[in-house]
């Protein structure tokens, strides 16, 4: 029941990929309250995401985008519908689904390096290899020299970089990001958007990004999925074909912003 | 944080019932010598038989009177000084090292000097309880005052609220949660100190009751006394908690 994609920009032929990286079919999440009523967070959601695609879930608070992301991650079980990631149904967290949270959720008792190594340690990767991976990733996110620092000693932007490195350490199939820059100030946020794109260029992961910032969605994504609220469901899909890096001054993007803003 | 849920109530009651039951069983079956640890039912019955109810009431009243007096005095002093030290920084600067020096000394350690200053009567015990209530209250009140978000003070000032009015109408309510916590802790401490003081140097009150009972070998009375003190402490603490929830708890997530 997905609405028809209504692009406002010239569309090049969609690259035909044999199998979508993420397949969501009829996904529904309903919470039953103790007083008998129920709340539907997500209703009948369909979405197919291609390999290496950067998709943003955009919507106001309460539209269920975080719930949706958590279901993809395997942290929440859907009420009905199917969820397939990389050809396998989603049953539990991990297993190729890396996640970055809004509150960085870095373990305060571990250094930056310790945090990044955490996932590898879970998998039993030997320590020398773990260390190499961690150092390499920390360098990738621009934190060379900060490996031994504890999260409390890092700024908000740096913390999120560590979080991204940590999620990438397990070489995930998909990278799920839940408003990762939401708690950062505007400048840092803009910097981090650039950083993310840079890292994404180096490691072309499939990314599902959640945000309520229209501009953020426009700057970052290949495709924006706009969600409606109460209940959360798909409202609109927009493919953006403007090549990156994108400028906020680009009239096409400004027009797009207007359109989405009207929708919401 | 306290959810009134059916499972909590059920398991909670079950827990207490289990403990009481095993105690009763252990005592009755002879596992534990009945002189050493009488069953709860026995203990209470014997206690009531042994001590004339009048004396019991007298002891309870005296203990409560002491701790209330001490708490009221110590608590008010603590609140006043804590607020003053937090609001007038110079006052706080002067007093702080003095208080920090005196704080590590446990109130009980003051008993000998209290006796020298006030003799063996009521004032000496109340003095020690005052100390016991004072320190946690003053510490928390001070901390509460320091922890007030300066933004709301500034906001009030832009609305023309200054000086003493500012303290009364804005600062005090803002510091209330911490002050309340301090008072609650102070009450609990006062209780413990009351009992100790009565054990060490008194001839009336619940603490004395227990001490005296030991000399007479009346284990039942001892146990009864211990349970009585615990119950009073628990009830009063619960009451204070309820008061706090009803007042501060309405707007502050405790």
């Amino acid at each position: 029941m997905s609405s028809v994609a209504s692009p406002t920009l010239p569309v090049t032929s969609a690259s035909a990929v044999p199998q979508p990286k993420i397949e969501i079919c009829g996904l529904t999440k309903r919470y039953d309250l103790p007083d008998g009523t129920s709340v539907t967070a997500i209703q009948n959601f369909d979405l197919a995401i291609k390999e290496s695609e950067f998709v943003t879930l955009l919507g106001r608070s309460g539209c269920g985008k975080t719930t949706l992301l958590n279901m993809i991650a395997g942290l929440i079980k859907p009420t009905s519908g199917t969820l397939i990631v990389n050809g396998r149904p989603v049953t539990r967290p991990g297993d190729g689904k890396g996640m970055v949270f809004q509150q960085h959720a870095l373990f305060p008792w571990l250094t930056a390096q310790g945090n990044v190594e955490f996932g590898c340690k879970s998998r039993g990767v030997p320590s020398a290899e773990r260390r190499a991976i961690a150092l390499q990733l920390l360098e990738l996110v621009g934190l060379k020299g900060f490996e031994g620092k504890y999260p409390a000693a890092l700024s908000g932007g740096m913390q999120q970089r560590v979080a991204i490195a940590r999620a990438l350490a397990l070489d995930p199939d998909v990278l799920l990001m839940d408003e990762p820059f939401g708690s950062l100030d505007e400048m840092t946020r803009l910097d981090m958007q650039e950083e993310l794109l840079r890292v994404w260029n180096a490691r072309r992961k499939t990314v599902v990004f959640v945000t309520h910032s229209i501009w953020e969605a426009i700057i970052l994504s290949d495709r924006i999925v706009v969600l409606a609220t109460h209940p959360g469901r798909l409202r609109q899909e927009i493919v953006i074909n403007v090549p990156r890096p994108r400028r906020r001054t680009d009239p096409r993007l400004i027009a797009l912003h207007e359109e989405i803003w009207q929708q919401l | 944080m306290k959810r009134a849920g059916a499972p909590h109530l059920f398991y909670g009651t079950a827990g207490i019932a289990l403990v009481l039951l095993s105690w009763e069983m252990a005592a009755r079956s002879g596992l534990v010598a009945p002189e050493a640890l009488p069953a709860p039912t026995v203990a209470i019955a014997v206690a009531f038989r042994t001590i004339p109810t009048q004396d019991l009431l007298h002891d309870v009243t005296i203990s409560l009177a002491r701790v209330t007096a001490g708490f009221v005095i110590g608590g008010s002093l603590g609140v006043a000084i804590g607020i003053g030290a937090g609001w007038y920084r110079w006052f706080g600067a002067i007093l702080r090292p003095l208080l920090e020096l005196l704080r590590p000394i446990p109130p009980l350690a003051w008993i000998p000097m209290a006796i020298i200053w006030f003799g063996l009567g009521e004032p000496s015990k109340i003095f020690v309880i005052v100390l016991g209530a004072f320190f946690p209250v003053v510490t928390n009140a001070y901390k509460g005052m320091l922890g007030i978000d300066p933004t709301i003070l500034r906001a009030a000032q832009t609305m023309g609220v200054h000086g003493f009015k500012l303290l009364l109408q804005v600062a005090l309510p803002a510091a209330m949660p911490d002050i309340a916590i301090g008072l609650r802790i102070g009450w609990g401490l006062s209780f413990g100190i009351l009992v100790a003081a009565e054990l060490i140097a008194a001839n009336s009150g619940l603490g004395y009751l227990i001490m005296h009972a030991r000399e007479l070998g009346q284990t039942s009375v001892i146990i009864f006394g211990i349970l009585a003190i615990g119950s009073v402490n628990l009830t009063t603490d619960y009451f204070i908690g309820w008061l706090i929830r009803r007042s501060v708890g309405r707007w502050h997530a405790t």
Binding site: L75, R92, P93, G94, D95, K97, F101, Q103, A105, P108, W109, G119, K121, S122, Y150, A152, R166, L170 | H8, Y11, A14, G15, I16, V19, A36, W90, A93, I94, P97, L101, L102, P104, I105, P106, L108, A109, P112, M113, I116, W117, I181, F191, G192, V195, A196, I200, L206, G207, I210, M211, R214, T219, I222, G225, I226, L227, I229, G230, N233, D237
Partner: protein, 268 residues
């Protein structure tokens, strides 16, 4: 940063000079005879008393070191006992919700029992020796430690657990690698509070029928009308208490270096 330190220094100086002023006034009033030097032993007399404690000792032969060590030993034993029982138990109860529900009223009640009120009972059971005191301290420390440990384990921020799950930690792994480290700061806070409680308990316990130990010292001194010794003893008690909590704080900084940035004020 320099400005703040200077501000602090000024504050300490102000308060410090106030204390110094008080001491001088006290000394002066005592010399002038305005206040009874029996009821308010002057600072110089106190210094003498401390010296006497360190050398000759009070009662004769029992120096301040013996008192310190006796009291400290008792605390250590009781406290240690409480720690090794309360922490594992607290972790277990914190993990198993049903246990927590069942034991909450019991624990709350046991905590409300004034620890010192148990002394007569414990003496009846175990005699009036060292064991009674150690057990008493252990009792007092145990409940505080237990409640804090339970809370520490129960209230671990769920975001850490979720993050660990996305990083493929096993259930055991989540517990050992995330829940326990996350609970440590609060467990330490509980340990600090428990030590304070234990300290209060032992001072009280020593004031009932012992000769050695700091609590006994102050009681004995009064019996012999040595108020200077009494106050000196009180100061020593304060010193020990301060030393112990400072020591614990230092230990915590050493074990939890990462906690320094996160000044989390926990309410007990």
């Amino acid at each position: 940063m320099r400005g703040i330190n200077r501000h602090r220094l000024v504050n300490v100086l102000i308060g410090g000079s106030f204390v110094a002023l008080l001491l001088l006034a006290w000394e002066g009033a005592g010399e002038a005879g305005w206040i009874s030097s029996y009821r308010f032993p002057v600072p110089t007399k106190l210094v003498d008393a401390c010296w006497e404690l360190a050398t000759v000792g009070f009662p004769d032969g029992v120096t301040i070191w013996t008192h310190f060590i006796t009291t400290f030993e008792r605390i250590l034993q009781g406290y240690g006992l409480a720690l090794i029982t309360a922490i594992p138990l607290g972790i277990i109860i914190g993990r198993i919700e049903v246990l927590d529900w069942m034991l909450l009223p019991v624990i709350t009640f046991a905590r409300s029992i004034a620890t010192l009120s148990l002394l007569p009972l414990i003496i009846t059971w175990f005699g009036a020796g060292e064991l009674a005191k150690v057990l008493l301290i252990a009792y007092g420390c145990f409940w505080v430690m237990l409640t804090q440990t339970i809370a520490a384990v129960k209230y671990v921020d769920p975001i850490y657990i979720r993050a660990a799950e996305t990083l493929e930690a096993s259930s055991v792994g989540v517990f050992l690698r995330v829940v326990l480290p996350a609970a440590l700061p609060r467990i330490f806070a509980g340990a600090r509070t428990a030590l304070g409680v234990g300290f209060m308990v032992i001072v009280g316990a020593e004031m009932i029928g012992t000769i050695k130990g700091l609590g006994a010292l102050v009681m004995e001194a009064r019996r012999f009308y040595r108020t200077d010794m009494t106050v000196a003893g009180m100061m020593m008690i304060g010193l020990l208490g301060f030393g112990i909590s400072a020591g614990l704080l230092w230990l915590e900084r050493w074990v939890l270096p990462w906690n320094r940035g996160l000044e989390q004020v926990r309410r007990s």
